[in-house]
């Protein structure tokens, strides 16, 4: 894994006069920008882009890609992120010319297949979540949260009072408070009970008509299913509040239980987690929002509807909160997700969730005794350990860095905040047992190293392309722009 090549930036590889294309000689008279565009023409010098050949650029990015770690290389146990393997059939499907070549402004009559795809995905997500309606527009999980909170605000406003407060347990996803705040609500943190679940009596005492909603991540970031969820929904509804479910951990639930059946009003679904579309890397995500019928009038425009075997975009939605994304969302991400749902089928999705829970509990059983559990109760698709008992001043961060030397992406660390030095592990259903055993072996070795040769752990990684990075200096004095 260790590489000695120092990869320069493209700007540093600049070779004036070189380029990647040979154009024929210009056979029309040249026109200056200033003459053609007058005051609109830029006056400044052209942007100093690096001059490189095609092979320079391809080799640069290929070398960089070889420094990368991905789920195609091995276990990627980043808790709460559901880094499952992305089946390659998804990629084949979204490259179909009829999907990749369709134009968003094309006449609906000539894009019936694309609309049918979106309609089918809306229907599938409603069936999986137990909801009545769905928008595919939001481009990410937090974007979905914000959209969902806007639906709740619009709903309360339509009833005459937008209300003021959103309750969020301390075991929720970190983005929840930001989404509620952005939707104009005051966020109130709600302490979890000793079992990591909502304290129902405390919630009952706190609930009143100022509270617009509660945002719950189920299962929460401890991997614990919110056993009081029905009571929570009843308490909120009794005072006219709404229940928002953060669906980031839906991978633990598919085909087993549905938020809509618990009484939840609205949720977002991370297609790039549960439904095997690519995560980030700068690429687009998708965070569709599904809701109950009473929130449906407020969904963003347009929604894909089916009338007499024809699909169309419905813009006639006077109560809509408006658009939340250009056109119809990240269409090819939606295509990948539907490919996954269709290839898995209902039974396949259910067994994916069951295996995700089984894998996490396998790792939990194997690692207990080597690491200390953060909470004792039963957990679903992920498990959180803490830094208690780590010897010789070895920290969670040291432990995570040392895992890199053993060829693994580290788990999520220091989150959730309610577990000291949290190590949050989510293997997902796509890990074979041998890969998990290899991980367990690595953890065992690191625990032994922490006892016997702590410096080896504290100074890790040793085998990576970059050694221990000074994250403090990077955060305190970030250099975000390359300067000549």
């Amino acid at each position: 894994m260790s590489r000695q090549i120092e990869e320069k930036l493209l700007f540093e590889l600049d070779h004036p006069g070189r380029n990647g294309a040979s154009l024929p000689k210009c056979d029309v008279p040249e026109v200056s920008f200033a003459d053609a565009f007058g005051p609109l023409a830029r006056k400044e010098e052209p942007v100093a882009l690096p001059e490189l050949s095609e092979v320079d650029v391809i080799r640069h990015f290929t070398r960089l890609s070889a420094c990368n770690y991905s789920v195609d290389l091995g276990l990627y146990p980043l808790g709460s992120c559901t880094m499952k393997y992305n089946p390659k059939i998804n990629e084949a499907v979204c490259r179909y010319e009829g999907l990749s070549g369709v134009h968003p402004l094309q006449d609906e009559a000539t894009a019936q297949g694309a609309l049918e795809l979106m309609h089918a995905l809306q229907e599938s997500l409603c069936a999986i979540s137990g909801m009545d309606a769905c928008t595919l527009q939001p481009a990410a999980g937090a974007h979905g949260e914000f959209t969902g909170m806007q639906l709740i605000r619009a709903y309360h406003e339509a009833k005459g009072n937008p209300r003021k407060i959103v309750l969020i347990p301390d075991s929720a996803h970190g983005t929840n408070p930001a989404s509620a705040h952005f939707a104009g609500y005051a966020v109130e943190e709600f302490k979890s009970g000793a079992d990591g679940c909502v304290d129902v009596e405390a919630l009952k005492a706190r609930m009143n008509e100022e509270v617009a909603a509660i945002m719950l991540t189920v299962p929460n970031t401890l991997g614990i299913f919110e056993k009081n969820i029905k009571a929570v929904c009843e308490i909120l509804h009794a005072k006219g509040g709404q229940v928002y479910i953060d669906g980031a951990n839906l991978n633990a639930l598919m085909g087993v239980t549905r938020p809509g059946d618990w009484g939840a009003d609205v949720m977002h679904i991370n297609l790039h987690k549960t439904f095997s579309t690519p995560h980030g890397g700068g690429g687009p995500g998708a965070g569709p929002v599904a809701c109950k019928a009473h929130l449906e009038p407020f969904l963003p425009v347009p929604i894909v509807v089916k009338k007499e075997e024809r699909y169309s975009f419905d813009y006639e939605r006077p109560m809509s909160i408006g658009k939340v994304q250009g056109f119809y969302g990240n269409f090819l991400v939606l295509a990948r997700a539907l490919a996954y749902i269709e290839t898995m089928g209902a039974e396949g999705l259910k067994s994916a969730s069951e295996l995700a829970v089984l894998n996490a509990n396998y790792l939990r059983a194997k690692l207990t005794g080597k690491l200390e559990l953060g909470f004792d109760g039963p957990t679903l698709h992920e498990v959180v350990f803490c830094d208690k008992g780590m010897p010789n001043g070895v920290t969670t961060m040291d432990f995570a860095k040392r895992l890199i030397d053993y060829g693994f992406h580290p788990p999520t660390v220091y989150f959730p905040l309610i577990v000291h030095g949290a190590i949050m592990i989510e293997p997902t259903e796509t890990e074979p047992k041998e890969e998990m055993d290899r991980f367990v072996e690595a953890v065992e070795k690191i625990v032994a190293e922490a006892r016997e040769t702590p410096d080896l752990v504290k100074k890790a990684p040793h085998e990576a392309y970059r050694k221990r990075l000074d994250e403090v200096a990077a955060a305190r004095n970030p250099r975000l722009v390359w300067k000549r």
């Binding site: 220091y414 989150f415 403090v472 955060a475 305190r476």
Partner: protein, 129 residues
């Protein structure tokens, strides 16, 4: 762990030093140790009103972003400008160079409801760390 006497402490690990009508506010040694290397401090500006127990800013460390609550109510008189370039003062000297704001108190007696050093030491010990 350093818990100087003469200061008052909150359950959310802020301290306040009362001198006449002014309260100087920062985070405790325990807090800076738990947060780890602090990289950014967001504090209210002079003239801003602050309320006891309510959030007045954030402290960002390599590990996490945490709420900064104000121990006492009043109006911000002075903000520690040095923290913009030197957030590490919170780690190095939490009770000295790492002070965050000075507040003109609306009620000089309000701080008496907070923990003294002895009570805070007991609180930290009991919270299981």
């Amino acid at each position: 762990m350093n818990i100087p006497s003469g200061l008052r402490y909150t359950k959310t690990h802020e301290w306040v030093k009362i001198e006449g009508q002014t309260g100087t506010v920062g985070v405790s040694d325990f807090a800076q140790h738990e947060l780890g290397d602090i990289v950014f401090v967001e504090a209210p500006q002079p003239g801003d009103g602050v309320t006891a127990g309510a959030q007045m800013g954030t402290v960002e460390s390599v590990k996490a972003v945490s709420e900064l609550n104000c121990p006492i109510s009043g109006t911000v008189a002075e903000t520690n400008e040095a923290l913009a370039d030197h957030p590490e003062y919170l780690n190095q000297d939490p009770y000295g160079a790492g002070w965050i704001v000075k507040v003109t108190l609306s009620d000089a007696k309000e701080a008496e409801g907070l923990m003294d050093a002895q009570a805070y030491a007991k609180y930290v010990a009991e919270s299981g760390h």
